[in-house]
């Protein structure tokens, strides 16, 4: 198992989240600053799980109005029509337009919900101290992180449409309240991804490696004490 490798924390090393430099905190300090890019360093993100949970719950809450409220209000000579995301999918679904409908379905409904579910899975497994499928979980995290910014595609499309189609009084398109919540879902999931510390995935392995298979809270505490002990062993700055 690759997870058997010791973590940087066990060696008293901190990795910079910005430039990736691995460094040892200055003597006498628990955490320091990156000697290269001056980013604040920490062994683990502060309150990572709590913050991730908070953002994720916020995203999940916003996900409901995002799907219930209309995202686009189209006003034509025939009258105003408000469509939710799902209505848009249904509207686009036709023998020729089904690929577009599928794109909207995947980008606007499946991906956000998949992101939320994936993050929840990661959080729960980390909290339970699971040691299985670590490589898969880290890959899942990377994928969620990567997709993050692209989730905004929908919001962009809708706002662009609204900005471009203003042929008053013939036709106009206006964003609906659902769009605000949809954007909130995307933002909150991105924040949740940001708040999640993937290094936590490895902690359970390293904490379990020395002892038996079962989780040992006391062991975990001693792990946390480790960096303090390791403080004297300084890593030379690059």
């Amino acid at each position: 198992m690759s997870g058997a490798a010791p973590t940087a924390m066990q060696h008293g090393l901190q990795s910079c989240e910005t430039c990736g430099l691995l460094s040892r905190p200055a003597a006498g300090e628990v955490e320091g600053r990156c000697p290269r890019c001056a980013e604040e360093l920490s062994f683990r993100k502060h309150d990572s799980l709590q913050r991730t949970w908070a953002y994720l719950i916020a995203a999940a809450i916003c996900y409901i109005p995002a799907n219930v409220l209309p995202v686009l209000t189209t006003t034509t000579a025939a009258g105003a029509e408000s469509d939710t995301i799902m209505q848009g999918v249904v509207l686009l679904w036709s023998p020729t337009g089904w690929p577009l409908s599928l794109i909207v379905l995947i980008a606007s409904i499946m991906i956000p919900s998949a992101k939320i579910l994936a993050l929840m899975y990661l959080l729960i497994t980390v909290q339970r101290g699971s040691v299985h499928n670590n490589a898969q979980r880290i890959r899942m995290y990377r994928m969620v992180e990567f997709i993050g910014r692209w989730s905004m595609v929908d919001v962009f499309v809708d706002t662009f449409t609204a900005a471009l189609i203003q042929l008053q009084p013939l036709m106009s398109v206006e964003p609906g309240p659902g769009l605000f919540f949809f954007a909130a879902v995307v933002v909150f999931t991105m924040l949740a991804v940001e708040a999640f510390d993937p290094r936590l995935i490895w902690d359970s392995i390293s904490s379990k490696e020395p002892s038996s298979d079962e989780a040992n809270p006391g062991e975990a505490n001693s792990n946390e004490a480790n960096p303090n002990e390791a403080n004297p062993n300084e890593v030379s700055y690059a």
Partner: protein
């Protein structure tokens, strides 16, 4: 670091905020949501769930949310989400219908639906009772409840060019529209629902007559040529006109849904075929040329019935030709106020009594020419005091009424008689005699002229005798002077003698002195 980890993070404010915002949105959505109703349609043609709107006076008050077939597959049950605060609209007699484009002569409605598709129209009822399930109207009502006025029912055997929306005219002013029409159960007549706007509905009363005012009504009858039209629009698309017959009594306005007969034209409306016709037969012996079925039967110029049938019969024994004419009479039109006699009286016997007394007073049927131009004839009932007495035989069927020869026929006969008499005169002999007499007269005149000539010369002589400056005249003058003087002397003598008659004996006294 362990301390930090256990601390309650401020980040939890975010999901709490999100939850509050989400809950607030949800609450406002639920609060702003109007009632849900179901409307049953016969067909869902043109309707689309999530798209079809419910309009009231052009305002969007709801949207169809679902369309499904009823359990018996005969109807379409639609569910509609109404706008907030529409609860008050959804009462017992609120009506719904599908608005589709409709072009009916005078008006074009629902044009907008050509672009936007059908929508559901709505009329708010007056009831106070709430209702959530409705059955839609089959057709869009022409008149919505907001327009004050009244509906009347018109019965007609023929729809003509009447359609929903056909205008109704009163004194050539459009005062209403045909709301709907439908076939009677027996299929023999049609019932037209006509709407007359206020305040014109008050002019409809028991004496009001409705008639088809479609096109130009040109008729050439015994009463002459008549042309009747309403507005130019009605000529094109048809229409209904009504007018109230001037009546002695002021009639109260008719109740809503009062039934009226829709007549074919104005003349028919005011001269309707008899309502309870009594059939009689008239046997005419003179020519009935110009008499047609439907020709009026008039009593002293008042229309009391019409000719129903004209046949001909010939008696082979006597070779007498006669024309039995069947007429339908409306005795009530004769002005007999039967209702004044009381309900217990036998109407039939009253009718017989009336006819009997009329006949005994010399009422006879006669053929008359109504229009010299067209030669159309009519049957006239009139008093002929000099007519030979007649009675009505009530045992016959149909009852025969006594007739009298037509005036024209009688005149023709008289003229014929005169001509025959003239024909019989010995005109040739009279001529010959006359010619001889004239020849004699000629001779007489010639001799008369000779006598006149002699007289002329005699007078001439006489003229020369008395010509002025003639010797004879002068002498005559002198002679006359002498005579005058002699006469004067004689008068003096006479006067003297009168005063002194003794002078005859004694001579002149004065002279004697």
């Amino acid at each position: 670091m362990p301390k930090k980890r256990t601390r309650f993070s401020l980040v939890w404010v975010i999901p709490v905020l999100a939850a509050i915002v989400g809950a607030w949105v949800a609450v406002t959505r639920i609060l702003s949501e109007g009632p849900k109703i179901t409307i049953v349609f016969r067909t869902a043609e043109g309707l689309e769930a999530g798209k079809t709107k419910i309009h009231y006076n052009g305002v969007d008050v709801g949207t169809l949310t679902a369309i499904q077939l009823s359990d018996d597959h005969k109807h379409v049950i639609t569910t509609a989400q109404m706008a907030p605060k529409t609860e008050g609209f959804l009462v017992n007699d609120t009506k719904f219908w599908v608005v589709k484009p409709r072009i009916s002569g005078a008006n074009v409605t629902g044009l907008g639906t050509l672009i936007s598709g059908a929508y559901i129209g709505m009329e708010i009822g007056a009831s106070k009772e709430d209702r959530r399930d409705f059955v839609a109207l089959e057709t869009q009502p022409v008149i919505t409840g907001e327009v004050p006025g009244r509906f009347f029912v018109l019965k007609t055997p023929d729809l003509g060019s009447i359609d929903t929306g056909t205008p109704i005219y009163f004194r050539r002013l459009q005062v209403g529209q045909v709301a709907s029409y439908n076939m009677d159960q027996n299929g023999k007549a049609l019932t037209v629902k006509a709407f007359v706007r206020a305040p014109y509905d008050q002019y409809v009363n028991g004496d009001t007559r409705f008639w088809h005012a479609s096109g130009i009504d040109l008729s050439l009858t015994a009463s002459g040529l008549s042309v009747q039209t309403q507005s130019a629009l009605s000529i094109l698309i048809g229409g209904i006109a009504f007018e109230t017959a001037p009546s002695v009594m002021v009639q109260p306005p008719a109740e809503e849904h009062t039934a009226f007969t829709l007549y074919g034209n104005r003349a028919e409306a005011f001269n309707p075929p008899p309502r309870n016709p009594q059939t009689y037969q008239l046997i005419f012996t003179d020519s009935v040329r110009g008499l047609v079925a439907g020709a009026p039967v008039e009593f002293r110029g008042i229309r009391v019935g019409e000719v129903a049938d004209i046949t001909a019969q010939i008696d082979l024994k006597t070779f007498k030709f006669s024309v039995p004419v069947t007429i339908r009479l409306d005795p009530q039109r004769l002005g007999v106020k039967i209702f004044e006699l009381g309900p217990t009286l036998n109407l039939e016997s009253m009718r017989r009594k009336l006819i009997d007394s009329l006949v005994s007073h010399g009422v006879r049927a006669q053929l008359r020419t109504g229009n010299l131009l067209t030669g159309s004839a009519f049957v006239s009932l009139d008093f002929f005091p000099g007519a030979p007495p007649a009675t009505v035989d009530w045992s016959q069927q149909p009852v025969q009424l006594p007739t009298i020869r037509g005036t024209l026929e009688a005149t023709e006969e008289t003229v014929e008689n005169i001509i025959a008499k003239i024909d019989k005169m010995p005109l040739k002999e009279i001529g010959d005699e006359l010619r001889k007499a004239i020849a004699d007269l000629d001779l007489t005149l010639t001799s008369a002229r000779g006598a006149l000539d002699s007289a002329h010369s005699t007078l001439d002589n006489a003229n020369t005798l008395v010509a002025p400056n003639s010797l004879q005249l002068e002498k005559l003058d002198q002679t006359l002077d002498e005579v005058s003087r002699a006469a004067q002397s004689l008068r003096v003598l006479a006067d003297f003698l009168e005063r002194h008659p003794e002078a005859l004996l004694r001579g002149k006294k004065g002279e004697a002195k």
